[in-house]
């Protein structure tokens, strides 16, 4: 299930036109809704961080990146992994502790990885993936490939040292990196304006002499072209950039959080610009998709998630021996 073939096929659908992007976003939404329910039902234990509302960011990035580009992302990683091509069974398998899971079931929801689609182990420590992406960009630079690295992280992460050190290093080494901040308006329970003195995180790029751009993170096509341009710049040897995706997380920070801190009406305002609903409307208006086809897409992803859950659940749980594997490289 986690074979490279499956992942790359899934990635290709994003290149085959906008219907593919629509389907990828719908799949993430259906997947995350189900994951959230599974944690509430107690089918799985531990914690999880879902990304409903942020689907356009994941899919836009995946549409613009090559499988040979390296991606680092966070514990809020299901959407990115799915968009990059990881199969729902592989992600769910990991969440359910199955041997077919992304890292064999010993990592859990926060820990996914598939190098065939460029995804390094996802990071559960805030900011940690940012300098690591700079390092992956260094590999491309030294080896002379025209691949790039993409770091995906949250708004809160822009206050941690790793962000500043990573961007500075990437800038002075002129590394082919794209730093994508998913500004979903919150850290855990704190609104970003309470912990961050600048309105736009993109402005922080100026400190490192690199381009910084605010991007509408609710529009998958806008995300894809912004990331595409930054990647081209990086591949051409013009160095890193910082993109700030303005977006919103619908669920609480993690399983246990019901988001009581959200001001009245905020969710509704963002939901009016729901990345999936608005895209569906636009595709139908522009004749790229019929309402019927959209309905089929939604039914298809719903089925896919149900099947994925059944397949993952039927898989073997990780074993005691699995705990002892891969501590050291041979």
């Amino acid at each position: 299930m986690s074979g490279a073939g499956v992942s790359l096929d899934r990635r290709l659908r994003l290149q085959s036109g906008r219907a593919g992007r629509y389907e990828a976003m719908c799949e993430i939404r259906a997947f995350e809704d189900r994951v959230q329910a599974m944690f509430f039902e107690g089918t799985v234990h531990g914690t999880t961080h879902t990304c409903q509302g942020q689907e356009a960011v994941s899919v836009g990035i995946a549409a613009a990146a090559r499988p040979t580009d390296t991606v680092t992302c966070t514990y809020r990683g299901h959407g990115h992994a799915l968009a990059l091509g990881m199969h729902p069974v592989t992600v769910l398998g990991e969440i359910m502790g199955r041997r077919d899971g992304s890292v064999g079931g010993v990592g859990g929801s926060m820990h996914l990885c598939d190098t065939s689609i460029g995804l390094l182990p996802t990071f559960a420590i805030v900011g940690a993936g940012i300098p690591v992406a700079a390092g992956a960009a260094l590999t491309a630079q030294v080896k002379g490939t025209d691949d790039a690295a993409i770091a995906i992280f949250g708004d809160g992460a822009s206050n941690i040292g790793a962000f500043h050190e990573g961007l500075n290093l990437a800038a002075i080494w002129n590394l082919p990196a794209v730093f994508v901040c998913e500004n979903n308006q919150y850290g855990e329970y704190s609104a970003i304006h309470l912990t961050t003195p600048v309105e736009n995180i993109a402005d922080r790029a100026a400190s490192y002499g690199i381009p910084g751009q605010v991007v509408d993170g609710q529009d998958v096509d806008v995300v894809a072209s912004a990331v595409g341009e930054a990647l081209e710049r990086a591949r051409a040897g013009h160095g890193p950039s910082l993109l700030e995706m303005k977006t919103y997380r619908y669920a609480g920070h993690s399983r246990a959080d019901t988001a009581p801190y959200r001001p009245e009406g905020e969710f509704d305002r963002w939901y009016e610009r729901d990345p999936i609903n608005t895209y569906r409307t636009r595709l139908i208006e522009e004749g790229a998709l019929t309402a019927e086809e959209a309905g089929e897409v939604e039914a298809r992803v719903a089925r896919r998630v149900v099947e994925a859950e059944a397949t993952a659940a039927a898989g073997d749980p990780a074993t005691v021996d699995d705990m002892f594997r891969n501590i050291y490289a041979p």
């Binding site: 234990h45 559960a124 206050n159 941690i160 850290g187 855990e188 704190s190 021996d321």
Partner: protein, 338 residues
């Protein structure tokens, strides 16, 4: 005595120290308005206000560093590291700055800083959110280290940590936050750092544990056909040498129980100390019960296997008493299946 959850005991200790000393301030991520991800600062913002109880950005190096500065210049800060792993990004401020300030100021500067962190496995958080990291801390001179084993001593140890004029790391096993225990509060309940607690008396073997392994060791000792004395070390730096020597002189056997990988765990230090002092009195080789040298796994069953549980502890101790030799660790006798 009131029954409290451990998170309530922590919040109560913080409140009592803040009441008794206006220099005590607190900061950490989502500790003020949201009252802490584990509700360990419930009511504090309301009572003490935003000057003394502050939310921080996600900036452990920044706020731990600020706490070092504040502590060196007249405040008595308590900072919260939500999961102890997050100390990684701030370690310099703790082990290379705070721990050495007193030394590097000819004793003129002290750093009355408390760093609280939640620790431990068992809740399915995965390997980057489940370690105890006791081993990272215990070999740094200048730092003290205490570990709560439940609501009962969390209160008294935390108050002592805050009163101490040195940087103290205070670790709270996350799996115990929700557990209720009777808690004695007030000045008399303060537990001096460096003092162990004999939580069970016995004559055949001394079991030394800390944190979440204390209830596990007690459960193992309950109803066993042998008689175990269980010592809760409570403070690892400095540890209570006298209590250890007294107990092992009586029992002649030492078993350490810790939630750490075997290699580098504090059980090695305790074992070396006791063995050197009481070599001739020991009736059996000291035994260490630990986790294997691997990462904390995710799945519930695997995680329970990873942790020393009461049954395993009882089996190891029973085997030691029966055979007089060290029982193998469970992973040494495992049949490996591909």
């Amino acid at each position: 005595m009131r029954k409290m959850r451990m998170n309530q005991a922590v919040a109560t200790a913080l409140a009592d120290e803040m009441r008794s000393n206006p220099d005590v301030v607190m900061f950490g991520e989502d500790i003020a308005v949201a009252e802490g991800p584990f509700k360990t600062s419930a009511g504090l913002l309301k009572e003490f206000g935003p000057s003394r109880v502050r939310d921080t950005p996600i900036s452990e190096m920044g706020f731990l560093g600020a706490a070092v500065g504040a502590a060196s210049t007249g405040l008595r800060p308590v900072v919260e590291i939500m999961f102890i792993e997050f100390i990684g990004v701030a370690l310099d401020q703790l082990v290379t700055e705070a721990a050495k300030f007193h030394y590097l100021s000819r004793g003129t500067v002290s750093v009355p800083l408390t760093v609280r962190g939640s620790i431990g496995a068992g809740l399915g958080f995965g390997c980057q959110h489940s370690q105890t990291l006791e081993s990272w801390m215990y070999s740094t001179p200048g730092l003290k280290l205490a570990v709560a084993s439940g609501a009962g001593n969390a209160y008294g140890l935390l108050r002592a940590a805050i009163r101490d004029d040195n940087p103290v790391v205070f670790l709270e096993p996350r799996a115990l936050y929700a557990k209720r225990e009777p808690v004695q509060t007030g000045e008399d309940a303060i537990i001096p750092l460096g003092r162990a607690a004999t939580v069970r008396e016995g004559s055949d073997v001394t079991m030394v544990a800390m944190g979440a392994m204390v209830p596990a060791a007690l459960a193992a000792a309950e109803g066993a056909p042998w008689s175990a004395e269980v010592i809760d070390l409570q403070t690892l730096v400095p540890y209570d040498k006298e209590a250890l020597l007294q107990s092992v002189s009586k029992t002649g056997r030492l078993v350490t129980v810790e939630e750490n990988p075997l290699t580098g765990g504090w059980g090695g230090e305790i074992t070396a100390f006791v063995t050197s002092e009481l070599f001739g009195d020991l009736q059996a080789p000291p035994v260490r019960i630990t986790c294997p040298d691997i990462h904390v796994p995710y799945g519930r069953e695997l995680e329970q296997r990873y942790l020393p549980g009461p049954d395993y502890i009882a089996r190891q101790v029973g085997s030691l008493l029966e055979t007089g030799t060290r029982p193998p660790h469970w992973w040494e006798t495992r049949e490996v299946v591909a």
